[in-house]
């Protein structure tokens, strides 16, 4: 066929999102959890750009651009927080930082 | 001819020329730095050391290719591959010359003219950071790790002033495609001043040129910004644990980055393959004149040689130069090769400046280097972009 059906892109986006969610729920290392969040954001970006193609408008790409910027800002602040948590608790396992008391 | 076949031939030619240039760039660097330091440089292997790169390649290939047992194998093997791939990829969007007509087909002297060409070069240079960071990590050695981290932090810090300095001539050129950026710089003011970006109104891009060049020194880890790989600082930085061909890959990657960055400077600021003054003023005969002059000098030194060997080698070099000068007189070759000559001359001049600065300046300390990037270069680049934008908005 001369092209790829749009539903394939959306299914790929759903698969990546599901992988991101499973990583977020199953992993214990803070940084891996954070990377699963980035994976989810990327999957959503793909969905936005697919819809932008479908409706032949650039708005989906603009929104995807904003998602990218927000993800970058969030990564910066989140990693700074992780650095601070590591300095205090000496561990990156989220099970070990789950109590409010020291 | 079939588009794929033509592209394949162009890619093969460019790859061959690039790899030979990388090898001989190392020879040129060693000779120039040697003469700056009042010594001879490679002069034994072949006439004037011209076969030195070949000897180096043979040595590096035949060295024992050992993988230390304490390294992370996958990353250890992947990092130099990543570094060299990213360095060699950028050359595919650089325009070397104008349109040429061979065997009835007309094609541009450029591998791929993407309409986001500038962004592709920035993207590839961003990915080049990984080769170094992963090499530092994979070597499982604290000096390599520190060197790798410092080097990659330096590269991503200087990417910011680099991108801002690239954005300013883009405001003048109004396009992201490298071919169109060069074409926008054609034409002459007052008949003889070229309309290159650094001379173009409403805002001559001199500051962008300087900022880009300084950021390029830092991006390619050249002196004065080469603390992360200096021999007397961190052993050898991120490539401490590498030997033979993998080390050669990092070396080649550094030189390829240098060539790419000089080619980008030429394309964005110095008018790419456009001549210095119009062809109507005789600029098409400049290559011939230069090669004749070089041949005359070689012949003169061949007739009063400093060493006995030079009685044969220098006149041979003179003959080669005269032949090339005659080549540039043939009209068909002249039309095709003159833009290439101008591009090579400008890029070569910038590479000579890179090598000259390496032989002359001391290196920055790491904190001085980072402070320079964040506290001076980045605000300067933003200010430059603002002023350019303001002037373009007011006068266009």
């Amino acid at each position: 066929m001369p092209g790829v059906p749009i539903s394939w892109y959306l299914i790929l986006s759903a698969v990546l999102f599901a992988l991101g969610v499973s990583g977020f729920l199953l992993r214990r290392n803070i940084i891996t959890v954070f990377m699963s969040i980035e994976l989810m954001l990327n999957a959503v970006n793909l969905a936005f750009i697919t819809f932008s193609y479908q409706f032949k408008q650039v708005d989906g790409q603009i929104f995807s651009f904003f998602v990218m910027v927000v993800a970058a800002a969030e990564a910066a602040v989140g990693l700074a927080i992780i650095l601070t948590v590591f300095k205090n608790r000496r561990t990156l396992n989220i099970d070990d930082v789950s109590t409010l008391k020291n | 001819m079939n588009f794929f076949l033509l592209s394949l031939i162009k890619a093969a030619v460019v790859a061959f020329v690039l790899l030979t240039t990388l090898a001989y760039l190392q020879w040129v660097e060693r000779k120039v730095i040697a003469h700056i330091q009042v010594r001879l440089g490679p002069s034994r292997v072949g006439p004037h050391g011209l076969l030195q790169p070949l000897a180096d390649v043979i040595k590096l290939i035949s060295k024992e290719d050992l993988i230390p047992p304490y390294v992370n194998k996958f990353l250890y093997l992947f990092a130099p591959f990543l570094a060299i791939t990213m360095s060699l990829l950028s050359i595919s969007v650089i325009p070397f010359g104008g349109e040429i007509h061979i065997f009835g087909d007309s094609t541009w002297m450029q591998l791929a003219d993407l309409n986001i060409g500038v962004l592709v070069i920035l993207a590839i240079s961003s990915m080049g950071v990984y080769g170094i960071a992963l090499a530092g990590w994979a070597s499982n050695n604290k000096y390599s790790l520190l060197g790798g981290l410092r080097s990659s932090a330096q590269m991503i810090s200087y990417e910011l002033p680099l991108s801002m300095a690239v954005a300013a001539p883009l405001l003048l050129a109004n396009t992201l495609s490298l071919r169109h950026i060069v074409l926008q710089q054609s034409g002459y003011y007052l008949g003889f001043i070229p309309r290159w970006s650094i001379f173009q109104g409403p805002m001559p891009q001199i500051f962008s040129f300087v900022i880009f060049l300084i950021a390029a020194f830092a991006e390619t880890n050249r002196i004065p910004f080469d603390l992360p790989e200096a021999e007397n600082e961190l052993v050898a930085g991120y490539h401490t644990e590498y030997s033979s061909m993998k080390f050669a890959a990092f070396f080649m990657a550094e030189y390829a980055n240098m060539v790419t960055v000089c080619a980008m400077t030429t394309t964005l600021f110095l008018g790419g393959w456009l001549p210095l003054w119009p062809a109507s003023g005789g600029s098409s005969f400049v290559p011939t004149a230069i090669f004749l002059f070089a041949g005359a000098i070689s012949l003169y030194h061949g007739l009063n040689p400093a060493r006995k060997k030079d009685r044969i080698t220098l006149p041979a070099v003179a003959v080669v130069f005269f032949l090339i000068a005659v080549l540039f007189l043939i009209p068909a070759a002249q039309a095709a090769l003159t833009p290439l000559f101008w591009f090579a001359a400008k890029t070569g001049a910038l590479l000579f400046i890179f090598i000259w600065i390496r032989g002359t300046l001391p290196r920055f300390r790491y904190d001085q280097l980072m402070a320079f990037a964040w506290k001076f270069m980045f605000p300067a680049a933003i200010l430059n972009l603002l002023v350019t934008g303001l002037l373009v908005a007011l006068f266009s």
């Binding site: 749009i6 940084i31 793909l46 790409q61 | -």
Partner: protein, 166 residues
């Protein structure tokens, strides 16, 4: 040609995605995530979003992931040690995941007819000019707000990560 390219890069994206979730050392996850972002950039190119493909590689793969890799290398905390993994969760969870995804795929296929095909070059308005025009005219307010957001994020990161003044 579009189908082949899509299949290659979709498979690379999914394999790297699974690798992100499955690998024990965070650095392997980080490199796999870079692989996902690279293949997604190619897919954006196929969908006509060329500016966004370049922005994805420059911003996401070339800066955000480098930041991740820096933090992982600096903290050097080592791989994750698994304990208390419940077999029940794996036995039930993975087939459920597949069933859910299969159901989702079926419904998406029904919703979007196969006459809507994606081929390279059909959407010409994804270049820098069109994205820039939209950003600076229709989406000017979000653009300005997001610049303030980046400023706040920079300030926050600098404050959080600096050395304590004793």
């Amino acid at each position: 040609m579009d189908v082949i390219l899509f299949l290659i890069f979709a498979v690379i994206a999914v394999v790297c995605g699974i690798n992100v979730v499955v690998q024990s050392h965070p650095i392997s996850s980080a490199i796999s995530l870079v692989g996902v972002m690279g293949s997604l950039a190619v897919l954006y190119l196929l969908l006509g979003a060329e500016f966004l493909a370049a922005a994805q590689v420059i911003v996401y793969a070339g800066a955000v992931m480098v930041l991740f890799i820096f933090v992982i290398m600096l903290l050097n905390a080592g791989g994750e040690i698994r304990h208390g993994r419940s077999i029940m969760a794996q036995v039930l969870g993975i087939p459920l995941l597949f069933a859910f995804l299969g159901l989702m795929a079926f419904f998406v296929q029904r919703l979007f007819p196969s006459t809507a095909l994606v081929h390279f070059g059909a959407f010409q308005h994804g270049g820098a000019q069109d994205v820039g025009r939209a950003l600076f005219t229709r989406f000017l307010l979000p653009f300005e707000v997001i610049s303030v957001l980046i400023l706040i994020a920079i300030l926050g990161a600098v404050v959080l990560a600096r050395k304590e003044l004793e």
